[in-house]
């Protein structure tokens, strides 16, 4: 199970590589050290965010607690891009919701149309049947 509480190595090394120029190599132990550092960072930020949430008598960690925590830990330079990131995800969420509602409405309309079509089919069938009967009687 220890595997599940570690960050995936492939993704971590992808992030490391994208932060470095192409022709630079990374030693294996520095990769390990960086992956460990990332895990400790998560614990570090979480612990500090808990302090902020508890200070305002809450048991839930909110985004503002995370932002205050990062500021407190002297990494305030991250907060600008983090706030941007937060804005984009809330926007995409809104869009998703709107899309879902839109799709639902469309589906409803489609169902209505289907029902109408069914009714029409029934009518047509009834007509067909009657004409068939007429044909039969003619013969």
């Amino acid at each position: 199970m220890s595997d599940n509480s570690e960050l995936p190595g492939a993704i971590v090394s992808r992030i490391i590589k994208s932060a470095l120029p192409d022709n630079i190599l990374i030693s294996k132990e520095s990769k390990l050290a960086i992956a460990k550092a990332a895990k400790v960072w998560i614990h570090y930020v979480t612990a500090s965010a808990i302090d902020f949430s508890q200070a305002s008598n809450r048991s839930t960690i909110y985004p503002k607690d995370v932002l205050s925590a990062i500021e407190e830990l002297e990494f305030g330079q991250f907060n600008e891009s983090l706030e941007e990131f937060l804005a984009t995800i809330t926007n995409t969420k809104k869009k998703d919701k709107e899309e879902k509602e839109h799709n639902k409405e469309k589906e409803k309309e489609k169902e209505k149309e289907k029902e109408k079509d069914k009714e029409k089919d029934k009518d047509n069938k009834a007509k067909d049947d009657s004409t068939d009967k007429k044909d039969n009687t003619d013969k």
């Binding site: 960050l7 993704i11 992030i15 050290a33 960072w41 839930t60 990494f75």
Partner: protein, 161 residues
């Protein structure tokens, strides 16, 4: 008035719990993605969890293309949100985490990694080397005040021998 506030808080928390269930669904997908990647790297591993999901796994021929489409789907963060959340929850004091807070921590981890690597790389450049070595990281940790929290897990190497 205080009661009203309590009610509101309660509602908010319930909302969050609902959101969390939604996340849990995403989580499964994320994990599949990871497993796909791990499998590519080490095809001989016999992990227990991968065997569970063999049914939903694409065939070897199509796995590459599907992996790329999956990547384009999770453009929000590179790191798996589920993992980050699990690591956060391993702290005993954590009770509830809002979904956006998890997103933020995940994103901040990516930013932090980038920061740490770039700082360490400055040392590599200063010594005109082409490999980022452990020493670059450990000296960065020692020299940078905000990184002091890493001093225990990334110590400066004591001379070998």
């Amino acid at each position: 008035m205080a009661k009203d506030q309590d009610m509101k808080d309660q509602e908010e928390i319930e909302d969050i719990e609902e959101e969390e269930e939604e996340v849990e669904e995403e989580v499964e997908e994320d994990e599949e993605e990871e497993e796909d990647e791990e499998e590519k790297k080490t095809s001989t591993t016999t992990t227990t969890s991968t065997s569970k999901k063999t049914s939903s796994k694409p065939t070897a021929a199509t796995s590459k293309s599907s992996a790329t489409t999956k990547k384009s789907r999770s453009t929000v963060t590179q790191l798996p949100i589920a993992r980050v959340k699990r690591i956060m929850k391993s702290d005993k004091d954590v009770k509830l985490i809002s979904q956006d807070a998890t997103f933020l921590v995940t994103k901040s981890t990516e930013l932090f990694l980038e920061y740490l690597v770039k700082e360490a790389f400055k040392k590599t450049v200063a010594e005109k080397r082409k490999t980022l070595s452990y020493k670059d990281i450990s000296t960065t940790v020692k020299d940078t005040d905000p990184l002091e929290f890493l001093a225990d897990i990334i110590p400066e190497k004591v001379l070998n021998q």
